[in-house]
């Protein structure tokens, strides 16, 4: 399997390490429901059969974290983005910077 790193180009998947679902975002630790939110963040997984947003780290390359959209049924990679840019946009959309 090859992942098209937006910085480095297409590389074999052994250059990357995998973290998991990128659609779950670290909750606000100050929120009143923080305990439950962190439990869900830490443990509940949609475990999608189909296109899934995932966090991959280009460990042997540029050290960028990536948001990879990949179909878990056939490993087809549909999109790759810089995780930092995704995160910044998310913050912008939410109007929050921590």
């Amino acid at each position: 399997m090859r992942i098209n790193c937006p910085h480095c180009g297409q590389r074999s998947n052994d250059e990357f390490s995998y973290l998991g679902d990128a659609s779950i975002v670290r909750p606000d630790p100050a929120a009143p429901n923080a305990n439950e939110a962190f439990y869900a963040f830490g443990y509940e997984r949609a475990n999608i059969a189909g296109p899934m947003q995932e966090l991959w780290y280009h460990a042997a390359g540029c050290h960028a974290w990536l948001v990879v959209t990949r179909d878990t049924r056939n490993h087809e990679i549909l999109d790759v983005k810089s995780a930092q840019e995704v995160a910044l946009e998310r913050q912008k959309a939410a109007g929050t910077a921590q």
Partner: protein
């Protein structure tokens, strides 16, 4: 023994090089063959028909095919450390000195005593072992299984380490063409002419596929000549890579293919520096699968006898290798391949006794050809049985009217039709589809970027294959961005390829084999069906059909067709088992490549490694690192003496330890302090410039991840260390925090583990020693540079350095770092200048002893299961801020005060030895699980105290000081009584750190 002549060699045929005679042996008997032969063709040339014994019944077996689908002709190739079991004679390229032995026979191939299994066969039906060998229960391991295991397997693995080397390589191309028959060659040629980067791969040592085996004309020239001209043109393109002797064994995601190149399997021993085989990872934008089709046998009685051969293989041996596979042939088919075969047989001067075809309406041309050459024709008939005990002597033919007659022959050429080689097209989850008119499975939905052409796709005519290959090559080139170049398709004819599906001769009187290698018969298939194993997967697993080294290439379709007949379902509804990589078996050595022995993993060396080696250090593998474990002096005979001396040196004078292996990360930016506050449990933004602080990080799940120190060199410039083991993990974690959690923070991370050679200089004379190397005007006095101070300075006359007043040993100590290339010099300088203070280097063992004496936690305690609280560091956690892991660390299970905590232990009998991994149970309690209260994590012999000490995790540790427990260690017979003591054994007040 005399060499037998090549009695079955044809005079004027074949693509072998008769000028190069090669000698080889089979079961010790010497023979001759020619360059261009396979072992199988050379054996046939010498009249050798019996080459192996079958797996279960030890039946005599010969050569069925001429390719990689061969189920029977398996040999042990070479000998000694190079012995290669189960090697297919049909694809083994003959070389001078080749040595082969038959397998799975005792005592010899012609007299195999285990053939008695054939007589027992009524009781050894499919799956019989699931029904018996159960009584008494204890007999399985002692008696039944050893008996079965003695019979298991075919060839023998070498007993010694493989002496040859293996290599790995990558290749990138626009278009990968797999297979070099007419379709593959045209695809490669058409694509290459556009300027595309093309790789053409063929498992055979010669390109050409069936064009080498059949008498055909392409573009007005002989097929083999056309092949040569195309290969020559392909060679002329710089962007084309031709890879014969290379098998694409698997398709993987995103256009990656695994292939193995047999670099030196066609020579006795690889030349110096040349690998035996090379694993290729081929990355292709487009792939054209043109692996052709494989003929399948028809299932009839004794269809496994030497002398029964696939019709296409018969033609290959005649036309390509110039070998007569028999003197008198009967041809048995259900398709037009029979007609082509009788022509080639007659052409080679082999008598054809009969053409037996299951169809009732043969072509008039075939009939007239037969009449002309005295060949009897049986239409709507079958060969029901081969007759002959060790080889075919006649064929029992049952005609359309049911009458039976024996016709003498020594060769039965059989064709049940062709199976397109669809395996690689299904590796990524695609399913082949049944096409009734072709009586074959053809490729189904294909992975992105893959096309199939020629007979691999079910296109069986030569002209059609050429045309389809050209089209596929052009389409792939255009899709890769190249301009189509005008490329004429050479003229050729489509041969007739009519077929009428026929699988199994029900009038057979003898055992009729479906899977010849695994000895699965048509009766076994019926038994499985009767017992309810009706899914194709159940059939396979219950009978072992298709599980032999040929992976059922000649048997799967026949097996499932017979099953379909029994269940009354269509073949399409019955479905096929999945093909999985590898396409053909691949040497395990090739998949490992060079990464074995000492090169299994890379080796990481500290900057002063050579110095330590000179000094006679014993080294230890620590992750990828080789670290100095201890430095024995002459006369020190055991490691403990050395380690105690090293510890005593630090405690009483000064020692130097190479700690370059620590992970080191620069953390810069205006938000660096804020960032560190969020990743450490304690506060780092309040750290003063020029100071260091011990810190602990948690995983998000609240478990301790790593510890280390953070130093601040400027408002926006921190430097942190991680443990040796966790350096990479921590960096990855920090990058996640930086890029994903808090992307808006102004933080930059620089891994600098390799930039610095770092040494711990520890002991009461540490300052005296360092004072000798720091450059003026740096003031190293305790007042100017107290405990936990850090500074950037120069040493040894202008070398940039960093000094940290840190201690892991508990002594007054420093860590000094210099640029990596200065490490060796610094070490030597410290040793020289320290002589007057009694300096000695110390290794990881002494380091470990002293950290245990001080009760510092390390790897055995930071084991991914402990919380900061478990480690006695709970109070470090700041309550004024959030940090990674804070919320989940508050879950009841992790915050439970009764969790085992780190505490110290000493043996009640001070001379007793402690051992890591012992469990604590009450002194008088029974050794049962309910009484398990924790375990010993780390132990050391403390020279400072003169006895063994330990750290361990113990439930309710704080309230149990002085309690006597049993350290239960039955796996080493090492039970000892221990006393619970505080975790700090030396300098409990920490006074020495600050002097």
């Amino acid at each position: 023994m005399t060499q037998s002549a090549q009695t079955a060699r044809l005079k004027d045929r074949g693509l072998i090089d008769r000028s190069q005679s090669l000698t080889f042996t089979f079961d010790g008997v010497p023979y001759n063959g020619y360059a261009g032969d396979t072992l199988a063709s050379a054996l046939l040339a010498n009249g050798v028909r019996l080459v192996g014994r079958s797996f279960k019944y030890h039946r005599p077996r010969g050569i069925l095919t001429s390719g990689s689908e061969e189920p029977n002709a398996l040999v042990e190739l070479r000998s000694g450390a190079r012995r290669e079991p189960n090697t297919k004679a049909t694809i083994t390229e003959l070389y001078d000195g080749l040595e082969a032995k038959s397998q799975n026979r005792f005592p010899s191939l012609s007299l195999d005593l285990l053939a008695v299994n054939g007589l027992l066969s009524p009781f050894l039906s499919a799956g019989f072992y699931y029904k018996t060998f159960m009584w008494p229960a204890s007999f399985w391991e002692k008696f039944y299984e050893p008996m079965i295991r003695r019979a298991a397997g075919l060839g023998r693995a070498a007993q010694e380490h493989d002496p040859d080397s293996y290599d790995k390589a990558f290749a990138f191309c626009d278009i990968l063409v797999v297979g070099s028959g007419p379709a593959g060659l045209m695809a490669a040629l058409t694509a290459a002419r556009t300027g595309a980067r093309v790789i053409l791969v063929d498992e055979n040592f010669a390109f050409g596929g069936r064009l080498l085996s059949d008498v055909r004309t392409v573009g007005g020239v002989k097929g083999a000549d056309w092949v040569n001209s195309v290969v020559a043109e392909l060679r002329s393109f710089p962007g084309v890579r031709l890879m014969p002797r290379t098998t694409v064994f698997g398709a993987y995601d995103t256009g990656t293919f695994g292939a193995v190149e047999r670099v030196a399997d066609h020579v006795p021993v690889p030349a110096a520096g040349v690998p035996r085989q090379r694993l290729w990872r081929i990355v292709a934008k487009h792939t054209i699968i043109a692996q052709g089709a494989m003929e399948r046998p028809i299932v009839f009685g004794n269809n496994d006898r030497p002398g029964v051969m696939l019709a296409s293989a018969v033609r290959t041996y005649i036309n390509r290798f110039g070998v007569k596979p028999g003197e008198t042939a009967v041809v048995f088919s259900n398709n037009d391949d029979g007609a082509s075969t009788i022509e080639d047989l007659v052409g080679a001067g082999i008598r054809v006794a009969a053409l037996v075809d299951t169809r009732t309406m043969l072509q008039p041309a075939t009939k007239s050809f037969a009449r002309k050459h005295g060949i009897r024709i049986f239409e709507g008939a079958v060969v029901a049985d081969a007759i002959g005990s060790s080889r075919v002597t006649s064929a029992r033919i049952v005609g359309a009217d049911g009458t039976s007659q024996n016709i003498a022959c020594d060769l039965i050429a059989v064709s049940g039709g062709f199976n397109p080689s669809v395996q690689v097209t299904t590796h990524l989850g695609g399913r082949a589809q049944w096409q009734q008119e072709l009586a074959a499975f053809v490729p189904g939905a294909l992975p992105k970027g893959m096309a199939v052409s020629g007979s691999a796709k079910g296109t069986f005519g030569l002209a059609s294959c050429l045309k389809e290959g050209a089209q596929a090559g052009e389409a792939a080139a255009v899709a890769s961005g190249f301009q189509a170049a005008a490329s004429a398709v050479p003229a050729a004819d489509d041969e007739p390829s009519d077929i009428s599906a026929f699988w199994h001769v029900k009038t057979a009187k003898h055992k009729a084999f479906v899977d010849q290698q695994n000895d699965v018969t048509a009766a076994d298939v019926a038994l499985a069906e009767r017992e309810g194993y009706r899914s194709v997967e159940h059939l396979k697993r219950y009978t072992t059909l298709g599980m032999a080294t040929d992976q059922g290439k000649t048997s799967n379709v026949n097996g499932l067709a017979i099953l379909a007949q029994l269940t009354g379902k269509t073949i399409a509804a019955t479905g096929a088992t999945s093909a999985r990589p590898p396409y053909t078996p691949v040497s395990l050595g090739a998949l490992a490549g060079e990464h074995r022995g000492k090169h299994f993993k890379a080796t990481r060396l500290t900057p002063s490694h050579d110095w330590a080696k000179e000094r006679g250090a014993a080294f230890i593998e620590t992750g990828m690192w080789l670290r100095a474990q201890y430095y024995p002096k002459p006369g020190e005979n055991d490691w403990l003496t050395t380690v105690c001396r090293e510890v005593n040196t630090v405690r009483n004078a000064v020692g130097v330890c190479d700690v370059s292996t620590l992970g080191k990360i620069e953390i810069h930016g205006t938000d660096a302090g804020k960032f560190l506050d969020r990743v450490y449990i304690n506060m780092m933004s309040t750290l003063g410039v020029g100071k260091a602080r011990y810190g602990m990080m948690l995983r998000e799940d609240g478990i301790a991840m790593d510890d280390g120190t953070a130093a601040r060199f400027a408002d926006d410039r921190y430097f942190i260390t991680t443990t040796t083991a966790n350096a990479i993990k921590v960096l990855q974690h920090l990058e996640l925090c930086r890029q994903w959690y808090w992307p808006d923070l102004d933080v930059q991370l620089f891994p600098v583990s390799d930039q610095w050679a770092q040494y711990s200089v520890a002991g009461p004379r540490a300052r005296d020693l360092l004072a000798k190397i720091v450059d003026a005007p740096f003031d190293i006095s305790n007042a100017a540079f107290p405990y936990m101070a850090v500074a950037e300075l120069t040493v040894m006359g202008g070398i940039k350095a960093r000094l940290y007043r840190l201690s892991f040993s508990g002594e007054m100590a420093y860590e000094i770092a210099v640029p990596a290339r200065q490490g060796d010099r610094l070490m030597r300088t410290l040793m020289a200048k320290g002589e007057e203070f009694g300096v000695a280097p110390y290794g990881t063992e002494a380091l470990g002893v002293m950290r245990i004496e001080k009760g510092h936690v390390a790897g055995p305690e930071l084991n991914g299961m402990t919380t900061a609280g478990d480690l006695g560091l709970g109070k470090m956690a700041s309550t004024k801020k959030d940090f990674v892991g804070r919320v989940l660390s508050q879950r009841p299970g992790l915050a439970d005060p009764t969790r085992p905590r780190v505490v110290g232990f000493r043996p009640v009998d001070r001379s007793a030895r402690l051992r890591g991994g012992a469990h604590f149970i009450g002194k008088d309690d029974a050794a049962v699980a309910q009484n398990d209260q924790g375990y010993m994590t780390s132990v050391a012999y403390s020279p400072s105290l003169g006895h063994w000490i330990g750290l361990g995790l113990l439930s309710g540790a704080e309230s149990r000081m002085g309690e006597i427990l049993r350290a239960f260690d039955p796996v080493r017979n090492g039970d000892v009584l221990v006393e619970v003591v505080p975790a700090t054994f030396v300098d409990v007040e920490g006074a020495r750190l600050r002097v």
